[in-house]
């Protein structure tokens, strides 16, 4: 956590509110993410963590407040400014989101071809390097549909890293994977963290992997930040909702059995 001291934050959100169709999902979030830091955003289903990720990468406009990435307010940036910001971000989507009509290699080459003036032979070498880093050497000519779920995620990591981004985002990197494959993905994230020391934002609900990779955790609960701090601090938090999440305690759905029965009998007879 030494990095977060005096340095300028690479992402900062203030008063961030997001809503759709009149329903507000995020209620005024404040946080900062610094260079070289791995931040895990935890939260249950419907806590707003996916919306938060979509907002951070500019796919969702905030209804008020601001998100600054490297000082650029992405809610108010022009298309060109936004494109410049986006070229410095890498995003690995939950299902990989590889372009189905292209091979794995072409998918990874795509940002390089579109945004750089590199020779195609250079691009080919870079594609192989990126694939090697995620443990998919030799898969460049496969179609995304021929890959397993875990391999798709790895290929998506490779594509996210193609332009050597300054911030990497991962959406549920271990969701839907068996424990062994999920552990492999965690390892991969840890090795990327060591190799690049770039900022990484990981959205997940998997506690085990969160403990393993996080420098800092932000726990979202019903659209607000319930905890934000170093992994150990959050682990030992006394906040009731944080404890409930970390200790896997279900929401109590019925307060009183008699009250509950009344739902069925009210207004009858």
């Amino acid at each position: 956590m030494a990095v977060s001291g005096g340095s300028e934050p690479i992402i900062s959100a203030s008063g961030l509110r997001v809503g759709f169709n009149g329903r507000e999902v995020l209620h005024g979030l404040e946080f900062e993410i610094h260079q070289g830091e791995t931040v895990v955003i935890l939260g249950g289903s419907g806590s707003g963590k996916s919306t938060m990720l979509r907002t951070l990468v500019g796919l969702q406009k905030p209804s008020s407040g601001s998100v600054k990435i490297k000082g650029v307010d992405i809610a108010r940036a022009s298309v060109r400014e936004m494109d410049d910001v986006r070229k410095r971000l890498g995003i690995a989507f939950q299902g990989g989101a590889l372009i189905g009509s292209m091979t794995v290699g072409e998918n990874i080459a795509l940002p390089l071809k579109e945004h750089t003036t590199l020779e195609s032979s250079t691009i080919e070498v870079m594609v192989r390097i990126k694939l090697e880093q995620v443990g998919l050497s030799g898969f460049e000519n496969f179609n995304p549909s021929q890959l397993s779920g875990g391999m798709k995620k790895r290929a998506a990591f490779a594509r996210a890293m193609a332009l050597d981004p300054e911030i990497l985002f991962f959406d549920e990197p271990s969701a839907g994977l068996d424990p062994i494959t999920a552990a492999g993905i965690d390892d991969l994230i840890l090795s990327l963290k060591k190799a690049y020391s770039i900022a990484m934002v990981v959205v997940t609900h998997e506690l085990a992997s969160a403990y393993l990779i996080a420098d800092r955790m932000i726990l979202l609960d019903r659209g607000t930040i319930a905890a934000n701090g170093p992994a150990d601090e959050v682990k030992n938090s006394r906040h009731p909702r944080v404890r409930q999440f970390l200790d896997r305690i279900p929401d109590s759905t019925r307060d009183d059995d008699v009250d509950h029965l009344r739902i069925f009998t009210e207004g009858i007879g």
């Binding site: 979509r54 500019g58 410049d84 189905g100």
Partner: protein, 265 residues
């Protein structure tokens, strides 16, 4: 009086829909003209699309328009026989096919093959977050997906329509030779005499407009796909139905315009 409000709302939605189509066309044209650097790759993708849209449709268009040529000849001969004017079958087929049925049938085949495919492709990309991925890679989905489709359609649909004209006339010739005592050379000569350049160009112009409409509707339906696989099915169906309706409407307008322009009124 509730139906008045309903009619008004439906009209509003239709106007909004057509506005959306115009916007997607305009945006694609602007992107095509304004980004010279990316034109090379756009044309590469356009060639890829053109193979699927145009070359892939040749067998089915050939078959259908050949048969339609025979059908028109048969129906025409049935009536013309009574007047002892079976000779007019050749010009009847030529005019009906080049001015109307060639472009129209081509458009309907292309709607079924490609308009639906556009909606399904883009819709699936919406559902699997591929559109989001493109956007976050600073790639405009319209530039990446839609512009090549427009280019491919603008070139291939007129070509297919001309091919369909030829096949329809050959179908007519098949009947002419087999059933109406023409020689093949004689049938073709009669056809040539009956046709004006205007007949062919009006069909080709129509098919160009059909191509733009089919692409715009297919892509717009794809982009408006909601979440889930069911929605992809819905947008595909909607792309086909809307495209057919719009193609017929535009055909009506064009045919009326051509008719009036020739002093038919």
């Amino acid at each position: 009086m509730q139906w008045v409000a309903a009619v008004g709302a439906a009209t509003g939605r239709s106007v909004e829909y057509v506005g959306g189509l115009a916007e997607i066309c305009g945006r694609s044209l602007r992107l095509l003209i304004l980004s010279p650097l990316k034109r090379g790759r756009t044309f590469q993708r356009a060639i890829h699309e053109a193979m699927a849209v145009g070359v892939g449709a040749i067998p089915i268009v050939t078959l259908i328009t050949f048969f339609v040529g025979i059908i028109i000849a048969l129906q025409g001969a049935y009536e013309l026989q009574r007047l002892g004017a079976t000779q007019l079958v050749a010009s009847l087929v030529a005019i009906a096919i080049t001015r109307e049925l060639g472009p129209l049938i081509t458009a309907i085949v292309v709607i079924g093959r490609s308009g639906s495919a556009f909606a399904a492709q883009i819709g699936t990309m919406r559902v699997t977050e591929e559109l989001d991925a493109l956007e976050t890679m600073a790639l405009d989905p319209v530039a990446f997906l839609v512009v090549p489709k427009f280019v491919a359609m603008a070139i291939m649909l007129p070509c297919l329509a001309i091919w369909a004209d030829l096949m329809g006339i050959l179908g007519g010739a098949f009947f002419g030779v087999a059933g109406a005592g023409f020689t093949f050379g004689g049938y073709m000569q009669t056809t040539r005499d009956a046709l004006l350049m205007n007949d062919i160009t009006s069909g080709v112009i129509k098919s160009l407009v059909f191509g733009m409409v089919i692409t715009a509707v297919g892509c717009q339906e794809g982009f408006s796909t909601g979440a889930g696989a069911e929605e992809v099915g819905r947008s595909t169906t909607s792309a086909v139905v809307t495209s057919i309706l719009m193609v017929i409407l535009i055909d009506l307008v064009f045919t009326a315009l051509f008719y009036l322009a020739r002093g038919g009124a």
